[in-house]
């Protein structure tokens, strides 16, 4: 099967599905081993369209379903009651397009806050300065209220105590126990998708890198894949190998950093120092082969800028191997530390059944028994370089997530080392690509947080009409809110860190 070309290279099949049948159709598709990759909307001359992207987890392919809404229709029947994964996607559609999913169980704003003017639907219209000056009468956001004797609310954020991104957490507590947690995001909504449809295609790669800048490499790879699949071309294998190596280095660096973060939240100073130093080493290797600690500005469609020379790749591969040894002697500080294990065990449990309903991705999903890894499903040839496994645990607690991330960090260092050792510099011109009209391009990457999808749709002039980024965090936030229930308030930081989600990737 690995001889087959990756499914993303061939043109992405588009299929029109009447909006009235969409709910039933998706329901059957999802029960046939497909995943709802993303759900979004798009403008067309005949009215809005609802776009659903399905990932075939068994055969490794992607399909895009397009459902045309009647002209001037501003609502459709919500999918969420049958398909829980659609919950946040539909809230986003409501915010960005003003298309109301009727019958949505909890329709609130997701990214567009009360501070924005009325009737601002950034992707459905050209936002004029006049509109931005309009008076704001938006109804204030209403949090779910937990009633009962002794229940009190603890509002946290948007500005947090630690050095992390802004978001608001509303805890309803009974004593120290969290009865309910509502997460309100949108504070770092910067208009990424609007910017992506209105900018030069050479600027796009920099915008996607900034979408969630701690995942710059994976976003750049997904962007490159999406453009390439749209244009029906493919980058040379050496370049693809180098890209994957970058994604693996990013994975290792971020997982190691978050393991240090878990130590820090446990108050375990020695562990957090040890992991921080290791993370620094990995970032140094990233700097060596790309010239930037976050590997920005090098991964581009069809090519690779400043391709590192062979000796540099070999040296980096050797250093990665060294680093792996150090990691192996550091991980026991956390994962064989009985008092740390006692703290993490049974905390922030995400049950397998719920994880499936929410469509969890990445390490958080794999810690709850969701055996879904984009690298395995799409069988990229460079990943055949060695035998490797993705960890799969069922406990779904903080400990399981820490274990999964530790294992993945080690595997990532191995993979990156082997891939880099076999990279031979090639010259590939960074030519301007012609984009076909009315087509779709998809990039799908296992970023360090999980499945990252870029979807590009062109209009009849071959211009990018819609650029949708689905960050892995988008699927996992609800899980964090649910996993926090029943835990102590003072355990929440640890629980949060074990998920390690991106705020800016979700808000865009």
């Amino acid at each position: 099967m690995s001889d087959q070309p990756s499914a993303l290279i061939s043109p992405i099949p588009l299929e029109n599905v009447p909006i009235l049948q969409l709910r039933a159709r998706l329901k059957t598709e999802l029960s046939d081993g497909n995943r709802l990759g993303l759900l979004t909307a798009m403008s067309s001359p005949n009215g809005s369209q609802i776009i659903s992207l399905l990932v075939q987890t068994l055969s490794g392919g992607v399909r895009v379903l397009i459902s045309q809404l009647p002209h001037d229709a501003a609502s459709y029947a919500s999918l969420t009651p049958d398909i829980p994964q659609a919950h946040w996607f539909e809230r986003e559609i409501n915010d960005m397009w003003g298309i109301r999913p009727l019958g949505h169980p909890r329709l609130k704003s997701l990214v567009i806050h009360d501070t924005y003017p009325d009737n601002l639907f950034p992707l459905a219209q050209q936002v004029s300065p006049a509109l931005m000056r309009k008076r704001n009468n938006r109804a204030a956001y209403r949090f779910s209220v937990v009633q009962g004797n002794g229940v009190y609310e603890v509002p946290v954020g948007p500005v947090h105590a630690g050095i992390i991104e802004p978001g608001h957490f509303r805890f309803s507590c009974l004593g120290e126990v969290i009865e309910n947690l509502e997460i309100r995001l949108g504070y770092v909504h910067r208009g990424v998708e609007e910017r992506l449809t209105n900018c030069d295609w050479k600027a796009m790669r920099h915008v996607v890198e900034a979408a969630s800048s701690d995942t710059a490499a994976a976003n750049a790879v997904a962007h490159a894949q999406a453009i390439e699949s749209l244009a029906g071309v493919q980058a040379p294998p050496d370049i693809q190998r180098l890209r994957s190596a970058c994604v693996e280095i990013e994975r290792a660096a971020c997982h190691i950093g978050d393991l240090g973060g878990i130590c820090n939240d446990l108050g375990f100073g020695a562990g957090s120092a040890a992991f921080a130093v290791l993370r620094g080493t990995v970032l140094g290797i990233a700097e060596m082969i790309t010239g930037s600690r976050f590997m920005t500005g090098v991964i581009v469609p069809l090519s690779h800028r400043n391709m590192p020379a062979k000796p540099l790749c070999t040296a980096a591969a050797n250093r990665l191997h060294e680093c792996r040894k150090q990691l192996q002697s550091t991980i026991p500080l956390l994962l064989q530390n009985s008092s740390a294990i006692e703290r993490m065990e049974g905390m922030g449990v995400m049950k397998h059944s719920l994880a499936q309903d929410f469509g969890l991705v990445g390490p958080a999903g794999r810690a709850s028994g969701i055996d879904y890894d984009v690298r395995k499903v799409f069988r990229l040839p460079e990943y055949d370089c060695m035998e490797w496994q993705t960890p799969n645990l069922y406990d779904g607690d903080v400990l399981a997530r820490a274990k999964v991330r530790a294992t993945e960090a080690t595997t990532a260092l191995d993979l990156a080392s082997v891939m880099l050792a076999s990279v031979t510099p090639v010259s590939a011109p960074e030519s301007v690509v012609e984009l076909p009209a009315d087509s779709a391009g998809v990039g799908i990457v296992e970023a360090w947080r999980g499945e990252l999808i870029h979807l590009i749709l062109t209009n009849s002039d071959g211009v990018v009409a819609r650029y949708k980024i689905k960050d892995p965090s988008f699927n996992n936030w609800t899980a964090l809110a649910v996993a926090a229930r029943g835990n102590l308030l003072s355990d929440f930081p640890l629980c949060n860190k074990s998920f390690g989600l991106s705020y800016s990737g979700t808000d865009l």
Binding site: Y116, I163, R190, V277
Partner: protein
Amino acid sequence: MLPALLNYLRGARQTRGPVLPDLMDVNRGLPTLTSSPCIHNEGCTTCADGCVSDAISLSTEDTAMVTLDLGKCLACGHCTHACPTGTIAASRITRTAVRQRSNLVLTAGVTSPPAATNMREMFRNSLVVRYVSTGDNATDMEVNACMNPLFDASRFGIQFTASPRFADALLIGGPVPLAMHEPLRATFEAMAHPRLVIAAGMQAVSGGLFTGGYTKADGVGKVLQPDIWIPGNPPHPWMIIHGLLLAMGHPLAFANQLDP
């Protein structure tokens, strides 16, 4: 666990080497202007053509002149590679923070005027920093790295705090979109006088690629008045530490930096 712990305890101290060193040669660094003349009057626009963030502007008014705004620079390395005359070259210095926005705008042959304000004596040995992230999580990570054993800003008397009431300096990363305007202002208002504002990274300085949109993500300058500006995308931990040292008026910050 025990072998790992002993192994850790046996390890050497990780804070070593010079303070504020130049970046490694492999790093792209930030661009800078050299004395070799620009040939824009012969029609060369290579640098500006490839600059997606409009950080470079060219003029032929007098002689060929190139102006480079580090506050908008993505550090993508395009211009330093493309410049045929070497007028724009990579610079790997980490002493890049400045006290006036205009000092981030480099013009060949023009030295920026000295900064008017002097930093307060009282923060010389102790500075407590409140960090607010507004949409650039790579900068968050680099700010975190400032306190790790490799960079260890604590040795200069720098501490990060949870409460704005404890803080002397407000360090901001990210382009400050509309929904963060109010929280940012509130954080600043909660701080006791005297207080400083520091913009970390090109997104915080100018909004970067998000500027001019409906989310009004135009950088810190639209909401508060920064006292220190740190370029970089994201700024290297040394660049952030330089900005903090500059805020303290620390002698280490004042050797061969951009800011006269």
